[in-house]
């Protein structure tokens, strides 16, 4: 490699400006393990295979299409859904009128997990984190006056994917639209559910069969429909850095390809209908490079299967900006963050995009925040003039070098996963989840130390003035859904429904196509819960294995251990006085599957000298209370992010009392709108720790409460 003729001169100048230090001291090691230098030159790109290719042509680094946005801009596709189908439908239609191009449906957690709205395990979940759908009747209302032959609809559904996809097909059919005309995407990416998203229902093996059944059915009957959206977004939001996100996502993709091939399908029949979904964070250049690297690697991974259709090798993707990067503190900053992330996604060449609302860390978007979020994209698309040129950063020394860094980092991990026997096997070992959780714990430790700056949270903090306009979904939605279920069950032909459900169960035992069977049942007005149950009889319900990392949070403090030591001393002093360490039960109640926070807090508290019990996921308040009482913990830490807190926390406190555990304190963390703090304190909680709370602070406050009590 020959150096740039001016390189020596630059080094001298830089050294002088650094008062004698070498410019190497400016190098930055990213969380991905990529060394970033202060200057890149043409020499850095020597020998890189991906450089100097053209868009629309393999290996597609510069974009899947030849003309990209210069021909047609990306699709603005905002993810939304809340409350009842009627309310969501109104919201969709307003947004479409205001410039949104595609629909993307967010279902509530009861629906995701295959429970009808009248199930006892979901009282805190109905309509809260998405729209409640119990039957095709709800589905028809959801798409009322939205012509499904023209509108491309994306649906985030993985667990209850069969009854929901069937519902969509039947709703279209009753609108007069035949299934072969349907365009859009079903997420149907079950592997990442076990890894990060936690809305699985059945164990992996039958779930993979469901994925294959859907791919099989759609490739025959719905040629324009994307059958899997292989998602890295959730991994990023759970804590994965960009190399992990790329590696695990592509490895998931490869697993689906193998599963489909194993059913005897030809690669070109289904591979062109696989799409991707990536998350875009605040490291501006990194995620531009990530999208380019992902396209390169997908081509490399699929090539060995010898597809004839070039579309099989092409990675097309939806993107979403990072919700995790958005803060409850100083919330209008979030508009700026989202704009930066939006630019990253665009410069990386996404095919469609969701931009988050500034009230992300408080609740579901309001009409106003949703408008600003949508306009963020519209401004970039229609005012900024960035669309004229394809891959405008192609040839940037830095971006090309980063692209290479991600390609080689991710390739290494993918090889490791292949050695374990593929992603399904790797997930069984727990390796990918632990890597993500480790990455999340390190990130939290860096934020708590102020090493990673988050404006408003650990730097430039302001006097809080909480957002006033917050969307709240009340219990009235559950009541209405339960009522509608009763009506539905009274009107339908019970015998026909029963027969259709039994047919599903038989299919599950044997080998009929489960989507075909589900369509028959949904058409007969079977509910989402009934269809799910019909399969659960055979498949069982999956129970996650919770593994925990330890020592990572503290180790990220390096030699800078003063705060850690101080807290360890406090826990030890407590133990000396009380006869045991402070003991906390960290719990998730309801169908809320956000486990990043609970895991980070648990591992950090253990590092700080607490004894930390962890409950299984999806507990009822009574189950959590029983565990707290038996383990005799000092306090229960409720992590609540899906808006169930106002229902579940009072129920927990009542259950503790009923079981004689009135001395057990309750603290609540997660997405709690500031307006609800008072409610929770009144209900009996002794601490509320919202997004952005430093774990060191919450541990100190928790100990204050315990010491006062035992005083």
């Amino acid at each position: 490699m020959t150096d740039h003729p001016q390189k020596q001169k630059w080094t001298d100048l830089a050294t002088k400006q650094l008062k004698g230090k070498s410019p190497d001291t400016l190098d930055w090691m990213t969380p991905e393990g990529i060394r970033v230098k202060p200057l890149y030159t043409a020499e850095d790109l020597e020998g890189m295979e991906h450089v100097n290719t053209l868009p629309g042509i393999a290996p597609f680094v510069r974009g899947p299409m030849a003309t990209m946005y210069s021909g047609r801009p990306w699709t603005i596709r905002q993810y939304a859904g809340f409350s009842t189908a009627r309310e969501s439908n109104e919201f969709y239609r307003k947004n479409l009128a205001a410039g949104q191009k595609g629909l993307s449906v967010a279902f509530d957690l009861a629906t995701h997990r295959g429970y009808d709205s009248d199930h006892p395990r979901v009282v805190g979940d109905i309509g809260k984190a998405g729209v409640a759908v119990d039957s095709v009747e709800d589905m028809k209302i959801l798409f009322d006056k939205i012509p499904l032959d023209e509108m491309s609809v994306s649906m985030t559904m993985n667990g209850a994917v069969l009854p929901i996809l069937a519902g969509y097909i039947v709703a279209a059919e009753e609108q007069g639209v035949p299934q072969e005309k349907l365009t859009g995407t079903i997420q149907n990416d079950i592997l990442k559910e076990y890894l990060t998203r936690n809305t699985y229902i059945y164990p992996p093996t039958p779930s993979m069969r469901i994925v294959s059944d859907i791919i099989g059915y759609c490739s025959k009957h719905m040629p324009k429909y994307n059958t899997v959206s292989i998602s890295g977004y959730h991994m990023m939001e759970a804590g994965a850095n960009s190399v992990l996100q790329t590696a695990f996502t592509l490895a998931d993709g490869l697993e689906y390809v193998k599963a489909a091939l194993a059913t005897g399908m030809d690669i070109d029949v289904f591979a062109p209908r696989l799409s991707f979904f990536f998350g875009i964070g605040m490291n501006f250049f990194m995620d531009i490079a990530m999208l380019r690297a992902a396209r390169f690697l997908w081509h490399e991974l699929i090539k060995p299967f010898n597809p004839k259709n070039v579309q099989s090798l092409m990675l097309r993707t939806h993107c979403q900006t990072s919700g995790w990067s958005l803060t409850q503190q100083d919330p209008y900053n979030n508009i700026i963050r989202t704009t930066l992330e939006c630019m990253s996604a665009v410069l990386g060449g996404t095919q469609s995009l969701h931009t988050n609302s500034f009230d992300e860390a408080v609740g579901l978007p309001t009409n106003f925040s949703a408008r600003i979020a949508r306009n963020t994209q519209i401004l970039v698309q229609e005012e900024s003039q960035v669309c004229h040129v394809v891959d405008p950063l192609g040839g940037s020394y830095y971006v090309e070098a980063l692209t290479d860094g991600i390609i080689s980092g991710a390739r290494k991990i993918i090889t490791e996963i292949q050695a374990l026997g593929g992603m399904a096997k790797a997930i069984e070992t727990g390796m990918p989840k632990l890597r993500i959780e480790e990455s999340a714990a390190r990130k939290q430790a860096r934020i708590d130390q102020g090493l990673d700056v988050i404006v408003g949270v650990n730097k430039y903090k302001i006097e809080e003035k909480p957002l006033e306009d917050v969307r709240e979904v009340t219990d009235a939605v559950r009541v209405e859904q339960v009522e509608r279920l009763k009506e539905l069950k009274a009107k339908r032909n019970a015998v026909e429904v029963q027969k259709a459900l039994e047919h599903i169960t038989r299919c599950a035992e044997g080998d009929g196509n489960l989507l075909e069977a589900s369509i028959l049942a949904i058409r007969a007005r079977a509910t989402v819960g009934e269809v799910s149950d019909a399969m659960e009889k055979v498949f069982g319900r999956f129970v996650a294995t919770t593994q925990c990392i330890s020592g990572v949070y503290a180790s990220e403090y390096g030699n800078n251990t003063a705060v850690i030591d101080a807290l360890r001393k406090r826990s030890q002093d407590f133990a000396d006085k009380e006869g045991r360490r402070p003991r906390i039960l960290m719990t998730k109640m309801g169908q809320d599957g956000h486990d990043r926070g609970v895991k980070v807090v648990a591992t950090a508290y253990a590092d700080l000298g607490f004894d930390v019990d962890i409950s299984p996921m999806f507990q009822t308040p009574e189950e959590t209370a029983k565990m707290a009482i038996e383990n005799d913990v000092h306090l229960v830490g409720v992590s609540s992010l899906a808006a169930g807190h106002k229902t579940l926390v009072p129920q927990l406190i009542a259950a503790l009392k009923a079981g004689g555990g009135d001395d057990i304190k309750v603290v609540v963390g997660g997405v709690i709108p500031p307006a609800d703090y008072e409610f929770l304190f009144e209900a009996g909680a002794v601490g509320v720790f919202g997004p952005g709370t430093s774990i060191i602070d919450s541990a100190n406050q928790t100990l204050n409460v315990l010491e006062k009590k035992h005083g």
């Binding site: 189950e623 009482i629 005799d632």
Partner: protein, 326 residues
Amino acid sequence: MTVDIDTSVNGLLNGNRRILAKTITLIESSLSSHQSLAQAILDRLLPHTGKAVRLGITGVPGVGKSSFIESLGMLLVGKGHRVAVLAVDPSSTRSGGSILADKTRMERLCADSRAFIRPSPSSGTLGGVARKTRETMLVCEAAGFDVIIVETVGVGQSETTVSLMVDFFLVLMLAGAGDELQGIKKGVLELADAVAINKADGDNIEKARRAQRDYETALQLLRPASPNWSPPVLTCSARDLTGIEDIWSVVLKHRNIMTSSSELDQNRRSQSLSWMWSLVEEGLKDRFHHHPEVQHRLPQLLRQVESGMLSPTAAACQLLFLLDKA
């Protein structure tokens, strides 16, 4: 913690879960005031103990102990038993704190009102674990639980300790890749009343059968602890619920044989004796380390022995002699 002994005793005998939990906390406490309270309660409870089946389960981390207990436990409560599970977690971090996640693998059992599960951090001495677990077991018996399962990780000494407090000691194993007996401590097999190869499911069934034969051979080379019982080797899947019922039958069969040969009683009596002796040893050590004179003299004597100025024997004599001074 304010505790009234009568209330505790009555509550326990009535099966009050909260009082049971609180009493275990007293037993586990490092404060001597708590411990003497616990002793007072235990003394009153002793006549009501001894009726449960005491089952110890060991195996390397990840072998499936917690999952196995979930499956066995659900089977047993289904048969009308009341099951208490004591899980000793060694996952203490350098901070002294620990993460107790066993219950995440016992999702159904821990929600069941017929079961009581108590995971305990092992912080402190190993002897401490033994005392605490043993006494906790007794309290659970007094509270009406008729099957007590103790989960312990097969590392260090804890499996020996636990085998000395149960009637039946089950060792869970995994089928490896051929070299079955490598890396397994012989000592653990000597303690076993039965060995079960877990995760005998899916592609693993054949491998598990092979492991079963290998262990059978290995066990034949050991002298059984009882002339009336040769430890069998079984296979099971905690995940698919196969082989669990068989293992329970083996436990019952063992119990019948041991009862009719009076070995069950003999065992428990000799366990009591060895428990007493270990308490004496632990107490002596404790007294030694807390003796003010010892604490005062120790640093200097240590230095002298280290530098060769004093023989270890002479130093030990001097230190022990200090105990005799009031």
